[in-house]
């Protein structure tokens, strides 16, 4: 196994995920008329939405505040930079340049960047909707407009992210338990796997994992 995500990274991911999912579900109830009518309790739903929204950037701030700052910064740097191969990978929807995928593929990089843009936008426009008094009415309407459309985009991106995660159990394992199999890393994130050569086999920079090969009965003599 190779360590993929440290504790701080996983804590940041899941704390943010809880806030985003809470906002997405309560937001859906507030927004979709028939659902709103079935659920009722508008004050409770609204307060939950506002609290989860205000809490959303807190894990990010905490991630930058403590000893674990180095770990988080390292992950963000990798997420933020795109190679030419990343662009090819994304445009071909993951068919081309598969051998040049690093720790994050272009889809994950896009997801990360989208979330980094979404959180301040939703925080700002949501605050304008909640504490609207100081703002001129057309800015309030504008804030609602941006909040609504960004919410729809976020629903699409988050749904895609979750579907990707649950359809690749090893990817999910990396974010839940922190480690992934060497074979999976070599297959889906080869450049990153190459950074972690197998200590048991110095000749091989991370391609064949003895453990995983022996799991495949019949392929080894």
């Amino acid at each position: 196994m190779i360590d993929r995500f440290g504790r701080a990274t996983r804590a940041l991911h899941w704390a943010t995920a809880v806030c985003i999912l809470t906002c997405a579900l309560t937001g859906l109830v507030l927004y979709v008329g028939p659902l709103s009518a079935v659920v009722g309790r508008r004050n409770l739903v609204k307060d939950t939405h506002v609290i989860a929204g205000l809490a959303m950037p807190v894990p990010l701030v905490l991630a930058y505040a403590g000893r674990w700052r180095r770990e988080i910064r390292g992950e963000f740097r990798r997420l933020a930079r795109w190679t030419r191969a990343d662009r090819r990978w994304l445009l071909s929807r993951g068919r081309d340049a598969r051998d040049q995928v690093g720790k994050f593929n272009a889809g994950q990089k896009f997801n990360g960047a989208f979330m980094a843009g979404m959180i301040p936008i939703m925080l700002a426009t949501g605050s304008m909707m909640r504490w609207f008094e100081p703002f001129p009415v057309e800015y309030r309407t504008g804030a609602t407009f941006v909040h609504d459309w960004t919410a729809i985009a976020t629903w699409i991106v988050v749904t895609g992210h979750i579907l990707m995660g649950v359809s690749d159990r090893m990817a999910l394992r990396g974010m839940v338990r922190g480690s992934v199999s060497r074979a999976w890393a070599a297959e889906t994130h080869p450049l990153w796997a190459a950074e972690h050569p197998d200590p048991a086999d110095p000749a091989d920079p991370g391609h064949a994992d003895p453990a995983s090969v022996s799991e495949m009965e019949g392929t080894s003599p």
Binding site: R81, W82, T141
Partner: protein
């Protein structure tokens, strides 16, 4: 190794800055963009058999709010509207009784205090002034206390406000009977005021001699909810 920058261009930062830029443009020009979008899409959204377009965030869509955990239901057969309190002849009217009385048609906007507005909604119903006259309001009466059969929502109006021509007990809106989610079978429509005054699932109009603040008024909304002149808002008047 850890301090070395990974290869590649900072596309991630460009995406974030691009989104923030678009977001700012959206806040500043969203009002104008939305009106244009609404006008352009109106032929589509008004004749959309699937109803999907009603979930798009263009203007001109009602959002359904309830304050209780359920959506109240009352059939037109079981429906009763009570007018009582400081009156000479308390009324208990069935749905058909309301249809038998002189009808008022309005075509006015619905403006919510949270910002959304639906333009040119057709409303049909009986003027509150007619019901009040029929019941015979006593001299010391000053206000109405209005009750919803959702069991929680209430509203208040002064007698003068309630007697306006654009204040009705509505049983039709948007060219059909008032549906359950819009407060059917009968709801209030208070033309010149913010939507929270247009109480849904209307059950009882009690004539009283003092102000009893309504559900949202207790929670900080203005009692005199004139569109554009209350709640710190400056929307165009609806009536």
């Amino acid at each position: 190794m850890a301090t070395e920058l990974p290869a590649g261009t900072p596309i991630g930062r460009r995406i974030v800055l691009g989104m923030l830029g678009l977001g700012t443009v959206g806040v500043v020009f969203g009002d104008a963009i939305q009106s244009r979008l609404e006008r352009t899409l109106r032929p589509l959204t008004q004749n959309d058999p699937t109803g999907v377009s009603s979930f798009l965030p263009t203007a001109g869509r009602f959002r359904i709010y309830t304050v209780t955990g359920h959506l109240p239901e009352r059939t037109t057969d079981e429906y009763r509207l009570t007018v009582d309190g400081l009156v000479d002849r308390p009324l208990s009217l069935s749905y058909d009784d309301l249809l038998d009385r002189p009808q008022t048609d309005l075509e006015l906007d619905f403006q919510c205090v949270t910002g959304w507005r639906v333009a040119d909604v057709p409303w049909t119903g009986v003027r509150l002034s007619a019901l009040l006259d029929e019941a015979g309001v006593s001299d010391q009466a000053t206000h109405l206390r209005i009750w919803s059969f959702d069991g929680a929502y209430t509203e208040s109006l002064t007698l003068d406000q309630a007697r306006r021509d654009d204040v009705i007990a509505a049983h039709r809106m948007q060219d059909g009977p008032v549906t359950r989610e819009h407060g059917g079978p009968v709801r209030l429509y208070v033309g010149p005021m913010y939507g929270y005054k247009s109480l849904k699932w209307l059950e009882r109009i009690e004539v009283v001699d003092a102000l009893h603040e309504g559900y949202w008024e207790v929670r900080g909304y203005d009692v005199d909810a004139w569109v554009g002149r209350s709640n710190g808002r400056d929307d165009a008047p609806t009536s």
